[in-house]
Each structure stands twice: as C-alpha cells, then as structure tokens.
Amino acid sequence: MDTAVTAKKKWWAGGYSPFNVNYGKLMMWYFLISDAFTFGALLISYGTIRFSSTSWPDPNEVFRSFPGMGHANLPLMFVSLMTFILIMSSVTMVLAVHAGHHRDKKAVAKWMIFTIIGGIAFLSCQAWEWTHLYHEGAWWGRNPFVNVDGTAATTNFTNFFFTITGFHGLHVTSGVIINIIILINVLKGTYEHRGHYEMVEKVGLYWHFVDLVWVFVFTCFYLL
C-alpha cells in the first residue's frame, strides 16, 4: 500500500474500500443516518406543534424536582445530572474503543462495564422522572400543567414529551443490552480470537448516537 500518494489515490478504481471502513461499520453509519431522520421527524413535529400553539407550558415549572428533595424548586438540576451521566458513559465507551485499538482486553472489559453502569444509571433517572411526572398527573393524554400565559394547556406537551423521551429511552435500553452482549463476547475472548475489536467500535457508534440525540432532546424540551 502506497501511503505517500493518499491524496491522489483513486478510491473508486477498485482494490480499495472507497470509504476505508469495513462493511459493518459503514452499515452502522447508514443505520444511524436513518435513525437521525426518525428522531429529527419526531423533534420537528414537536417544534411544529409548539410553533402552532398560542402558548406552551414552561419547562422550568414542569421539570423542577430532584429525588429526595421534596417540593424544593430546582429547575434543570436533575436533567443536568442525567446529561452528565450520559456524556460520562459516552467517554467510557470511547475509552473502551481506544483500549480495543490496543488489543487490551482487560481495559476494554473495564470501560464497557462502566458504560453499561452509566446507561443503567441514566435509565434509572428517567424511570424516576417518569414516575414523578405520572404521580403529578402527567401521562399520554393527560396534562396537569398550565401554559405560561395561564391558559389551560392541551395534551400535546405531555404526548410529545413521553413519546420522544420514551423513544430515546428505548434506544438507551437496547444500547445497554447490546453493550452487555458485546461485553460477554469480550470476556469470552471472541474479539481477541478474531484479531480486532471492531465490534466494540460499532456499538460505540450507536452509543454515541444515543448521547447525540439526548443533546438535542435536552435542548428542545428543557432549555427552549
């Protein structure tokens, strides 16, 4: 392989993978593009309905609770913690990928375990938040929160909130399950035998995508 002429290499003339990645990784990217459009469609429909409403509930009024803090008014605190947990688990995932490049089986397993713990912690937070909102009377088709201008709100707010955070939570759940499967394979030595840890990279892409979606959910539901 002549690396000196990389810039002028004829990628499409055959003999090379035009994207310089393996089939599986490329297909993961294509899946993530389609998933990005799914989430994009959900968030844009939320935006459209919000734009078409004369008023909307104030997120700082709705999301102001923190576990164990009773009725203290703490807007944004809990969701910031959730965001931090997910970013942190993204970091441990990328560290697992990094260890995989160096064929360090023990380190891969260690960082995968931290990532799984982070994912479960995030899901637990979301379960608490959903339960809390449910006990406040919020659910699909039910909205106890009033609009900023004091008028009665429609159920659009809760419907979109539970649908979109639920769909994201479903992605986190499947991500945790896939991570556990990969961790088992790592421990069994499957990838050591195969000679590379590319599977860790592929689930890593998925996991980072879940984090990426949360960044947008965080902005759209809690900040704007």
């Binding site: 392989m1 690396t3 990389t6 990628w11 090379y16 993978s17 035009p18 994207f19 310089n20 990645v21 393996n22 089939y23 599986g24 490329l26 990217w29 593009i33 990005a36 459009f37 994009g40 844009i44 429909s45 935006g47 459209t48 309905i49 919000r50 734009f51 078409s52 004369t54 700082n60 807007p75 944004l76 910031s80 965001t83 931090f84 970013i87 942190m88 993204s90 970091v91 995932m93 990328v94 560290l95 990928v97 990094h98 490049h101 160096h102 195969r194 590319e198 990279e201 890593g204 892409l205 980072h208 995508f209 984090d211 990426l212 960044v215 947008f216 965080f218 902005t219 900040l223 704007l224």
Partner: protein
C-alpha cells in the same frame, strides 16, 4: 463472516496512543452543558437576555456539542472525505425540513389567533367594487 471482513483492503489507520483528545472533548462537552444551564439560570433569576436571543445561543451551543460528539467520539472527523460526505450530505435535508415545518406551524398559529372566537373581524375591503363590470 470473518472471511468477508478480512477480504477487504483497508488503509492502515493510525491510532493515537494517548487519551488526551478524549478527555479534552469531555471537558468541552461538560463546559458547554454547564454554560447552557448557567445561562438558563441567569434568565430565570434575573431575566438575563431576551428569550429569542437566548434560544439562538442554546441552538448554536447544541450544534457545537453535536459537532464534538460526531467528530471526536464517533471518530467521523478522522474518516476519509468520501465517508464524511456520505454521512453529512443527506442531513442537509434537515435544513428544508426544519424551515418548512416551523413556518407551517407558525402560520397555523396566526390562523388560530385570527379565527379564535371573539376576535374582531375587520370588514374585508373590496376596492373599486362598484366599478366591477357586470357580465
């Protein structure tokens, strides 16, 4: 399965042996998030900055975070140009998608306001109506 994997000819990718870039990215993401929450609190407590302006800042900061996650964590920044373009170009559809749908939503809001019960209706002006030729 393994056969098809090893059959492809790939350029060797250089992997940095240090984790400093990963941690640097983490601190950037954390700092942006803390900054966002801080701005939101300033707005809540002191009414700092008009809402529309603040929302614009939030969206820009969100896009920054997205860039760092995709470029660094998902490693897209280090892939070859062909792959970067293949992934990013389809996402340009979002530009149309967002503008068209939010515009539609906004127009619905105006309709709702104009047609709400109790809204005063101005008599439609028909200029030069009497000069219209009769057929």
């Amino acid at each position: 399965m393994e056969h098809t994997q090893s059959a492809e000819v790939l350029e060797p990718v250089h992997h940095d042996s240090s984790t400093s870039v990963i941690w640097q990215t983490f601190w950037i993401l954390l700092a942006i998030t803390v900054g966002e929450v801080g701005l939101a609190f300033l707005h809540l407590e002191y009414g700092f900055m008009p809402r529309m302006f603040l929302n614009g800042i939030f969206i820009i900061l969100t896009l920054f975070k997205a860039f760092y996650i995709v470029a660094r964590f998902m490693h897209l920044g280090s892939e070859i140009r062909n792959l970067i373009m293949t992934v990013l170009m389809p996402l340009l559809l979002f530009v149309w998608f967002i503008i068209a749908f939010l515009y539609e939503g906004h127009s619905w809001k105006n309709l709702r306001k104009d047609l709400a019960p109790g809204t005063k209706v101005e008599a439609p002006k028909v200029p030069n109506a009497e000069h219209e030729p009769h057929h």
